[in-house]
């Protein structure tokens, strides 16, 4: 089955008792502001670089299944009162390319209903090639890599 061919409506993969660490990219492969879509265990996961910090969220919009990878990033628009716009966190919100829903790249939570509507977020970190090689990952010892736990 090709990666990304999860049928819509397929129930999410049940949480595993032990999440596995996956090396998904060399850090220089995803520049700041960049993103990369990877498939881990049948799940499409979208990895972002926000000014040197890496975050990973599920790629599928919980609304109608749009691929977030094709969406634009934007900032967070908030308001303390009508006519006042507070624009912050530029580049940290991903919009679904279809219906424009906004998700916080750091947490996967939606802007419209952060408590109930979210895409799953996965722990992501940067690890050195040396450390990863010690864990038997086939990587270059001098490199730095993005690791996603999923």
């Amino acid at each position: 089955m090709p990666a990304g061919a999860t049928p819509p409506g397929t129930p999410p993969t049940p949480a595993r008792a032990v999440a596995t660490r996956h090396v998904v990219a060399a850090t220089d492969e995803i520049p700041p502001g960049g993103r990369k879509l990877v498939a881990i265990g049948g799940r499409d996961i979208l990895v972002f670089n926000l000014a040197g910090e890496f975050f990973a969220i599920a790629n599928r919009c919980p609304h109608n299944g749009g691929s977030l990878c094709a969406g634009r990033t934007t900032g967070l628009v908030q308001s303390s009162e009508p006519g006042r716009y507070h624009y912050s966190r530029q580049g940290e919100i991903i919009r679904c390319p279809w219906h424009n829903w906004e998700f916080d790249i750091r947490t996967g939570r939606s802007v419209i209903d952060p408590r109930r509507i979210k895409v799953r977020a996965f722990p992501a970190e940067v690890a050195s090639g040396a450390a990863l090689q010690a864990e038997t990952f086939p990587v270059q010892v001098e490199g730095e890599y993005v690791v996603v736990e999923a």
């Binding site: 308001s79 009162e81 006519g83 219906h99 906004e102 419209i112 209903d113």
Partner: protein
């Protein structure tokens, strides 16, 4: 000529009103301009006479149109609700209405000269006070404001509000600019300052065609289009942020129909999820905002009625509102919404009736029952609630109100406890 007396043997009442019932939409009819002359200031009184302004009659309710007045309520002149006696015998006494709210529809909003419109509005409100409020303690009324210029509207609110028998500010559902637009906000600030909900009644100032696709041919289309106007006004009030700016703003839709509301909110909410950053002050689902701030009268309900109607359809349609606090009972007298004494729209369950006829109106209109205001306003006072930005201005025209009861004097009518000492 006095109206026809009610029949000696009242018709059976399908669903009787609970004690203390409040009728939220009654329409006293201004017979013609002569009735207003005594209440007009000299300049405008002479203007009306000299320029032959003998009527301001709105196309929203052509006098002869069947909906404008039920046939058996019309007097010899063809008009209905032109006298207190008619209102009493045909509505208040007949249905045991404890409190009735008058919403005059005389077309002051149609006038283009804003100073003239303001003068007619003042005369209309003084007429309401003298001819109706002063003569039946069960009656309350809305302050008709000229929505040409917010300054005039605010002045009229300030002038009338000290008389606590005025319980609401009355606007029409179609004006020159949508009601959420921020230039109208001083009007809402003034209403809140005085604990007055803002009533929006069917009708138009006819600044625009009654549909967004031009003028229709038939009155039936005009009447049907009213519910479109209400949808647009709710969209405007929410998206412009009127409810965000004024957490205490309470809006009552009068003669709006009801069943259109859920479908409107579904569409509105769906788009909000995608484009809410355009209006970031709308920080909740629009349906939540509307449920909190908006009330609707139940005549017309615009649910299926008549033989063959499955009562379950009405129940389900009402269920789509997801609230039993939103509806207010109204007869819409003398408009023809029902026959005989079918004063409660078919399908409204009996257990809901007490809520919509007593509890909900009291919670909506602080001046009817301040203790149960849902908006958390301080009761029995015109002081602004904590958190609002505007300081109360002294009522500029207080001393000049002809026929006004002394401010704060005990009001007739035992149901009102909100007068200031």
């Amino acid at each position: 000529m006095p109206p026809a007396p009610p029949p000696a043997f009242p018709l059976p009442r399908p669903l009787a009103l609970p004690p203390g019932a409040i009728d939220c939409d009654l329409h006293p009819t201004v017979p013609d301009m002569r009735a207003l002359l005594p209440h007009l200031e000299p300049l405008w009184r002479d203007t009306a006479v000299e320029r032959g302004i003998d009527a301001i009659e709105s196309n929203a309710y052509p006098p002869g149109a069947p909906i404008t007045a039920r046939a058996d309520w019309r007097g010899a002149d063809g008009r209905a609700a032109t006298t207190l006696a008619a209102l009493q015998s045909q509505a208040l006494d007949r249905w045991n209405v404890a409190t009735g709210i008058l919403n005059p529809l005389f077309g002051v909003q149609l006038v283009f000269n804003e100073d003239m419109a303001a003068a007619f509005a003042r005369a209309l409100n003084d007429w309401t006070r003298a001819e109706w409020l002063d003569r039946d303690p069960r009656l309350r009324a809305s302050i008709v404001v000229p929505m040409h210029n917010p300054e005039h509207a605010v002045e009229e609110i300030e002038r009338c509000a000290p008389d606590r028998r005025f319980v609401q500010v009355l606007l029409l559902c179609m004006g020159e600019t949508p009601l959420g637009r921020r230039h109208w906000w001083p009007v809402y600030a003034a209403a809140i300052r005085h604990g007055l909900p803002v009533g929006i009644h069917a009708g138009s100032a006819y600044r625009h065609p009654v549909t967004s696709v031009g003028w229709p041919s038939w009155y039936l289309e005009d009447y049907a289009a009213q519910s479109q106007g209400f949808q647009s006004q709710l969209a405007s009030l929410v998206t412009e942020g009127a409810f965000a700016k004024f957490p205490d703003l309470r809006v009552v839709l009068l003669e709006s129909g009801v069943t259109w509301l859920p479908g409107f909110l579904w569409r509105f909410g769906k788009f909000w999820k995608g484009v809410r950053s355009e209006v970031p002050w709308v920080d909740r689902h629009p349906a939540e905002i509307v449920r909190h701030h908006v009330r609707l009268t139940v005549q017309p309900l615009d649910a299926p009625e008549g033989p063959g109607t499955d009562p379950d359809t009405v129940r389900r349609a009402l269920d789509h509102l997801r609230s039993d606090a939103m509806l207010l009972w109204a007869s819409d007298y003398p408009h023809w919404q029902f026959d005989g004494d079918d004063i409660v729209p078919a399908g409204i369950p009996a257990d809901l009736l007490r809520r919509i006829a007593v509890d909900n109106p009291r919670a909506t209109y602080p001046r009817l029952d301040p203790a149960s205001s849902l908006l958390g306003r301080p009761t029995g006072t015109d002081a602004p609630p904590a958190g609002t930005h505007a300081a109360p201005a002294p009522p500029p025209h207080q001393a000049s109100i002809p026929g006004s009861p002394a401010h704060g004097a005990a009001l007739p009518g035992a149901t009102i406890q909100g007068a200031r000492p």
